[in-house]
Symmetry: C2
Subunit: 162 residues, 2 copies
Amino acid sequence: EKVVVAGITCKKDEAKVSIVGLPDKPGIAALVFGKMAEANINVNMITQSSLSQKSGTNNISFTFPLGDFKKAQSVIETIKKELSPEEIVFDDHIAIVSVVGVGMKTNVGVASGLFAVLGKNAINIQMIGTSEIKISVVIDKNRADDSVALLHEHFKLDKLSQ
Amino acid sequence: EKVVVAGITCKKDEAKVSIVGLPDKPGIAALVFGKMAEANINVNMITQSSLSQKSGTNNISFTFPLGDFKKAQSVIETIKKELSPEEIVFDDHIAIVSVVGVGMKTNVGVASGLFAVLGKNAINIQMIGTSEIKISVVIDKNRADDSVALLHEHFKLDKLSQ
Ligand SMILES: C[C@@H](O)[C@H](N)C(=O)O
Ligand SMILES: C[C@@H](O)[C@H](N)C(=O)O
């Protein structure tokens, strides 16, 4: 399937939370997101990488609407009491920048292109999530507009360059 | 937008690698996936959560075709020499199980439903990635068929229950 990058999107109305050092055993993700669902907080991007089994712990990050910040803090306080993670980090100054297209599952070139543009411009990547139609990164909100412009240029999405 | 779960997919031809304790600064993801792209290895699911800034490190996991296992090991050996991560963990016994649908961005109920089914059945979730049309988890390959059957039942996708 030919890879086509159709556009760049940028979401600036989300906050991030990372729950670090959760027990890495069945039922933990269910508890975390069960509580978020009960509180009617729309969770957007969820990322969890894999760690080594010997650590026995894992980390989950996710984004949710800035408007739900206080509500999320109190729900996550409940999660903290129940699961005692090592650390909880909130960030209300992020942006989610995504490259949208088709056929991207079969082309690591698009992902590495996105990461290279950000890396060369000293923009730190906080979270990464991928699908066949979208590669999303979380970055600092103050680099959002830069990133979108740089990515339009890199993927030749500008009207002038067509 | 109404949430509709259309189906469950299961991919058993992928391997996983986690690169743990990478420097959390710009350009690192670019280096990792630049090398994978150069080697023509199709990277499928990439996940990176956020850690606390004081750790100064982060972890990236991704999946790639089982058929590229030896090639990936040698590329990642190069990455290891260049970036000296704390740890590299390969796993050639995984499955990627996904809930596919529409409107899922606005419904944490689908994600928590997926996690609850797996959790109740003692199936450990190794990686999580999400988009509006797909929620994917990495689990052990030996629980793949169970998971698909349980999820069909939970989301009422069986022909008999319609
Ligand atoms: C960390 C969390 O994802 C856990 N492994 C679970 O299965 O719920
Ligand atoms: C860890 C890695 O994602 C790093 N933060 C980067 O921006 O490249």
